[in-house]
Structures are given as C-alpha cells and as structure tokens.
Amino acid sequence: MSTILSATDWLGLLTNFMALSLLAVGGAITTVPDMHRTLVNQHQWLTDSQFNAAIAIAQAAPGPNVLFVALMGWQVGLNAASGWAAGWQVWASALLGVLVSMLGILLPSTTLTFVASRWAHQNREWRAVRAFKQGLAPVVVALLMATGWILTTAQGTSVTHWPIWLLTTLVAILVWRTQLHLLWLLGAGAVLGWFNLI
C-alpha cells in the first residue's frame, strides 16, 4: 500500500476516532465494525489483514484492549509513509498515527467520564439514569457478538473459510464456559495458523 495521507486525511482520522470515542458504549471494541467500515472499506487506509493483525497483537499483549487503536494508528502511519524515502520519516509518521488515534479515541470519552461519573454517582437512584443503563444493555451485548462475527468473516465470507469460523466458535464456547487461560487459546490459534491448518 502506498497511501499518502494529507493533513486533511490526518484530521479525518482524528475526528473519526473522536466520534467513535463517544459512541463506544461497552468499550472501544464495540466500535470495531464501524472502524472497519471507515478505515478499510471507505478510505483504504488499512488492509483487511493489517486491521485484524492490530486486534490480534493487542489481544496477545498485556494491557487494555483499547491499545488495538494505537496499533491501527501505527499501521496507518506506516502505510502513509511508504511512498517516502525510508528513514526517520516512517517512524515519525507511525508515531503520529499512534498519537492521533489514541488522542481521538480517548479525549472525548475521558472528558465526558470526568464530568458524568461525578454526576451519575450523585444521582444513581434516578429513574432516567437506571433506564439509560438497562435499556442499552442488550444493544451492548449484541455489539460484542457482532464484532466477533465481523472479525471472523473479515478473511472472506465464502464457505471455504469454515475452519476459521469453527475455531472462533470453539474459542467463544471455551471462554464462555471454562476458565481456560486466554494465552493458551491465542497460542493454539497461532500454531494452527503457522502450519496453515486454518
């Protein structure tokens, strides 16, 4: 990929993440379908496999899952710089990507959290506060399931991809029903993929 990003594109990336920040009820991961729609389908700043790699690497690393957003910014920055002479510009562009994407995804939601958490704590018995929380719960649950679906079908929707779907389904059931450590599962997925079994 040799997408060269203009200042307008960087601003677009920032405002895109800022908007998603305020929509990320249930966590940043619930906005993954929307990120995929914008970053991969609409602007082609990232390829499908780069998009999935960002999520997979962040899941394999310690820390909050939101760091997959930093990796997406990193990758967008690398893609943007690939038309330039290699060197420090590539790293500068990648770090700019990290900064822009993390600022975008965090600034609006953290500001709101400061104001709203103090208010909500004082008014936690209010009917409207409780209704908002309860009414949104099923939507948040479905968003998580839809994210799983979108990630597992990102390689393609043809039936030949059934081993990937099977692996995702098995993992979903294991994580749901057992206390198996997640690192074992990620390791198993890596081994299966390494030997091209999925």
Partner: protein, 208 residues
C-alpha cells in the same frame, strides 16, 4: 470526629479504608495490574484493588464498574479515571490513566515492530490469522457472558432478545453505522426501560 475533609472522597467512605498514599503509588498500582491483564484487565483490576489492596469495597467496585460501562469509551480506562479522581482529583485520574496505558503501549508497539520485520512470511501471516480468529471468539464470548446477565434486566427477556437480534442483524449483516443503531435501538430500549421502572415503582408503592 473532627473531620479534615479531603476533596473527592466519598461521603460514605469509611475513614479507616486503605487508600493510595501518593500519586506514585497510584501510578504503579495501575501499571502492575495493566501488565497482568492479557485479553482484558477488568478481572485483574477487581482482584488487585478490591481483594488485595482493599482501596474499594466490592459494592463500591460494582457501582463504579456500572457507571464505567454506561459511559462511552474503553471501560477499564473509564474505571481507572474514576478511581484516580476519587483520591486525588483530576491529577489522580490522569496518573491512574497513565499507569494503565504507558507500559502496555510500549510493549504493544515493540510487538508490532518485531512483527513488521517478519510480516511477509506465510507462517507469520497464518499465525496472525489464527490469533485473529481466537480474538474474535474471545470478544464474542464476552457478549455471551453478558447475555446471561440480561435475565435481571427490567426490559424483560422478550424485549431483550428482540433488541439483541435486531442490533446483531443491523451491524453484522446490514453494516449500518453504529450511531444510528445506538440512537434508534438504544433509544427504544431506554424509553421502554423508563416505562418498566415506572411500573415497578408504582407496584412497590401500592404494596406496603
């Protein structure tokens, strides 16, 4: 007891409850728990802050977690902000957030840089594809776990099933923008919940 009130301390917080003694202690506590959290930090946060350090009672933790989930943004990020804010105000929130993100960010970027050198290998591509499929399963499982929690929802199971199914179809198959789905389906859910809560209040008012 002659009080020397600290700003942002909960009125119902017992004065003998342990608390972080300094901003540095707060930073390292959140760094330690973030570095233990593979594939999600919530469980570790509960174990470290409630069970071990006892900075929060289980009830306080649940309440904070509920608010962190309602608000947009990464849940554990919201939670660390709220806890830091409770003890040291805005500075505390920033420090807790920095602890949660700094070291993991460096690690994740190192992993990505290491990966970049070998990303052309079909084996590495395959391994990432496999890990991606596993990550997809983990996220779906979080949804499944929370699904069982909907049993206590005031909406009732029928409405919950309908909202879950409609949301899933709208996002996974129709690829509709998130904002419209949240505003329309979330709005319907919120209004219905408001009505149901009103009925419950009325019912409990009628029964002495």
């Amino acid at each position: 007891m002659a009080s020397n009130p600290t700003p942002n301390t909960l009125p119902d917080t017992p004065t003998d409850q342990p608390r972080p003694e300094s901003l540095a202690a707060l930073f390292w506590a959140f760094t330690a728990l973030a570095l233990q959290g593979f594939g999600g930090v919530v469980a570790i946060t509960q174990r470290e802050l409630v069970d071990k350090k006892k900075w929060l009672t289980p009830a306080q933790f649940l309440e904070d977690w509920a608010v962190a989930q309602i608000l947009p943004g990464p849940n554990v990020v919201n939670l660390s902000l709220m806890i830091g804010d409770r003890y040291f105000g805005v500075r505390g929130g920033m420090v807790a957030l920095a602890g949660m993100l700094s070291f993991p960010l460096v690690i994740v970027l190192l992993l990505a840089a290491l990966f970049a050198g070998v990303s052309d290998s079909p084996h590495v591509q395959g391994a990432l594809r496999g890990m991606g499929a596993v990550a997809a399963g983990m996220i779906a499982a979080t949804g499944l776990k929370l699904f069982t929690a909907l049993k206590q929802n005031v909406l009732g199971m029928t409405v919950c099933y309908a909202l879950v199914a409609t949301t899933f179809i709208a996002i996974a198959f129709l690829h509709l923008p998130l904002i419209w789905v949240l505003l329309s389906l979330g709005g319907i859910g919120g209004l219905w919940a408001y009505r149901q809560l009103g009925r419950l209040e009325q019912a409990s008012a009628e029964q002495p």
